[in-house]
C-alpha cells in the first residue's frame, strides 16, 4: 500500500508584479479524492498547482503536506511524494522516450528503472523501442510521455494540470480510467482543467474567479 498523504492549503494569495492573481484560496486534497480546480483562462489554476508543488512561493498563506501517520512533511520531502503533469513543463527534446523516463527514474532513485519505464511507456501507448528524440514526437505523444513521467515513482500525491489536452479520444478514455484507478489506490489527486468532462471527475472543487 502506498503512503496516504493529504495536501492542505489555507488562505493562499499570489501576486505577480503587484498584480493580484487570486487571494484567500483554501482547500484540501484527501487521499482517494480528486480536487478539481476550475476557472477561466488566466484565473490562476496553473499558478495554484505550481504553488502546491513547491515551485512557486505563495505571497501569503500556507500549504501543508500531512502524512496520515507521521504528521507534517518538510518542504524538502514534498519532492519525493508528488508527481506532476503540467503544460508549462517540458521534457528533454534531444532524448528519446526511454532516455527521458530513465533519467527521471534515476534522479528519483527508483529501483528497477529499466523494466518499470518500459512497462509505463506501454501503458500510455508509446513504443519503448522507438529511438526518435522526443522533439520529434507529436503533441499527444508528448503528453502521454509526460503522464508516464508523473507516474514513475507511483506518487501518493498527483497533480494533473490539463492532463487531457492534445490527447485523442482513446487517450482521454485511458486517462479517465487512470484517474479512477489512482483514486481507488488512495492517491490524493489535484486536477486543474478547462474540460467539462474532466471537471466531473472531482470529489471536491475549488473555483477561481479570474
Amino acid at each position: 500500500m502506498k503512503r496516504s498523504i493529504r495536501v492542505e492549503f489555507d488562505e493562499l494569495a499570489k501576486r505577480f508584479d503587484l498584480r493580484v492573481i487570486f487571494r484567500g484560496v483554501s482547500g484540501r486534497a484527501e487521499p482517494g479524492e480528486v480536487l478539481v480546480i476550475t476557472g477561466p483562462n488566466g484565473s490562476g489554476k496553473s499558478t495554484l498547482v505550481a504553488m502546491l508543488c513547491g515551485l512557486l512561493r505563495p505571497t501569503r498563506g500556507s500549504i501543508r503536506y500531512v502524512d496520515g501517520d507521521d504528521g507534517e512533511l518538510s518542504r524538502d520531502e514534498w519532492r519525493s511524494v508528488l508527481g506532476v503533469v503540467a503544460p508549462s513543463m517540458g521534457l528533454y527534446e534531444e532524448l528519446d522516450a526511454m532516455e527521458n523516463l530513465r533519467f527521471f527514474a534515476k534522479v528519483r532513485g527508483v529501483h528497477d528503472a529499466e523494466s518499470l519505464c518500459r512497462d509505463l511507456l506501454g501503458r500510455v501507448g508509446l513504443d519503448p523501442g522507438r529511438k526518435t528524440p522526443v522533439g520529434g514526437y507529436s503533441t499527444g505523444m508528448h503528453q502521454r510521455l509526460k503522464i508516464a513521467q508523473a507516474l514513475l515513482h507511483d506518487p501518493p500525491v498527483l497533480f494533473l494540470d490539463e492532463p487531457g489536452s492534445n490527447l485523442d479520444p482513446t487517450g482521454q478514455d485511458w486517462l479517465e480510467g487512470m484517474v479512477l484507478e489512482q483514486r481507488e489506490r488512495g492517491t490524493a489527486l489535484v486536477l486543474a482543467t478547462n474540460d467539462r468532462r474532466e471537471m466531473e471527475w472531482g470529489t471536491r472543487h475549488v473555483a477561481l474567479s479570474g
Partner: protein, 227 residues
C-alpha cells in the same frame, strides 16, 4: 521617539564639525611626511579612509545579503543594495585620490600597479552586481540572486585585496600595520588619520541611512504607481 529624532537631528551637525576639523588638521596641523613629494602625503588622510569605507561597505553588503537569504525581508535587500552602492562610490573615490597620488609619486595616473588593477576589478564586480539587478524583473528573485552574487563577490575580494598584490611586484605602500608590526607614521599623522577614518566611517553611515530610507520610499512609491 522624540528624543531619538532629536539625536538624529544633532548627529549630522556633529559629523559636519568633526569633518571640518579633520580637513583643517589634515592640511594645517599634521606635518608632511618625509619620503613623499612635497605636501602630497596629506592625500593619505582622504585616500586611506575612502578605501577603508569601501571595504567596510562591501562587508556590510555581504552581511545584509546573508541576512536577506535567511529572513527574506525586503529591508535586508534594500540594505545590501544601499551598502553596495556606497561601496562602489567610495571605491571610485579611493581610485581617484589614489590616482592623483600616483601622478605625483610615480609620475603617471595609471601604472598597472596591482592595487590599481585590483580596485578596478572590485569596481567591475560591483558594477556587475547592479547589472544583474537590472536584468531581473521579479523583485524577490532579483533580491535573492543579487544576494548570492554579493556573497560570491565577497569571497573573491580577499584574494583580490590581499593575495594578488603580493604575487605581483608593487609600488604601493605596505599596509600601515605591516609585517614587522611597525608604524611608519608620526604620531600627529596617525592621530589625524584615525580621526579621518572615524569621520569617514560616520559620514558613510549617515549616507547609508539616507540611502536606505530613500530606497524604501522609492519602492513604496513604485508600489502606489503600479496599483
Amino acid at each position: 521617539m522624540s528624543s531619538r529624532g532629536g539625536v538624529h537631528r544633532v548627529l549630522p551637525w556633529v559629523l559636519f564639525v568633526w569633518m571640518a576639523v579633520v580637513i583643517w588638521a589634515a592640511f594645517l596641523w599634521a606635518p608632511a611626511a618625509s619620503g613623499f613629494v612635497g605636501q602630497s602625503s596629506r592625500i593619505v588622510f582622504f585616500h586611506v579612509p575612502t578605501a577603508w569605507v569601501a571595504t567596510l561597505a562591501f562587508l556590510g553588503s555581504c552581511i545584509a545579503s546573508i541576512r536577506y537569504l535567511k529572513t527574506r525581508q525586503p529591508i535586508d535587500d534594500i540594505r545590501a543594495q544601499a551598502a553596495s552602492a556606497l561601496g562602489l562610490t567610495f571605491a571610485i573615490l579611493a581610485t581617484i585620490t589614489g590616482s592623483i597620488f600616483a601622478r605625483i609619486m610615480w609620475g603617471s595616473y595609471w601604472n598597472w600597479d596591482p592595487r590599481e588593477t585590483s580596485i578596478t576589478f572590485l569596481l567591475l564586480i560591483y558594477a556587475a552586481y547592479f547589472a544583474l539587478r537590472g536584468a531581473i524583473a521579479d523583485p524577490e528573485r532579483r533580491a535573492a540572486m543579487a544576494a548570492v552574487y554579493a556573497i560570491l563577490a565577497f569571497v573573491t575580494v580577499p584574494f583580490l585585496v590581499f593575495i594578488v598584490p603580493r604575487i605581483y611586484w608593487s609600488l604601493h605602500p605596505d599596509t600601515i600595520i605591516n609585517v614587522q608590526g611597525k608604524m611608519k607614521m608620526s604620531s600627529r599623522m596617525l592621530q589625524v588619520l584615525f580621526a579621518s577614518l572615524a569621520g569617514f566611517t560616520g559620514l558613510a553611515s549617515w549616507l547609508y541611512c539616507i540611502e536606505v530610507r530613500l530606497e524604501r520610499l522609492r519602492r513604496a512609491r513604485q508600489h502606489e504607481e503600479l496599483i
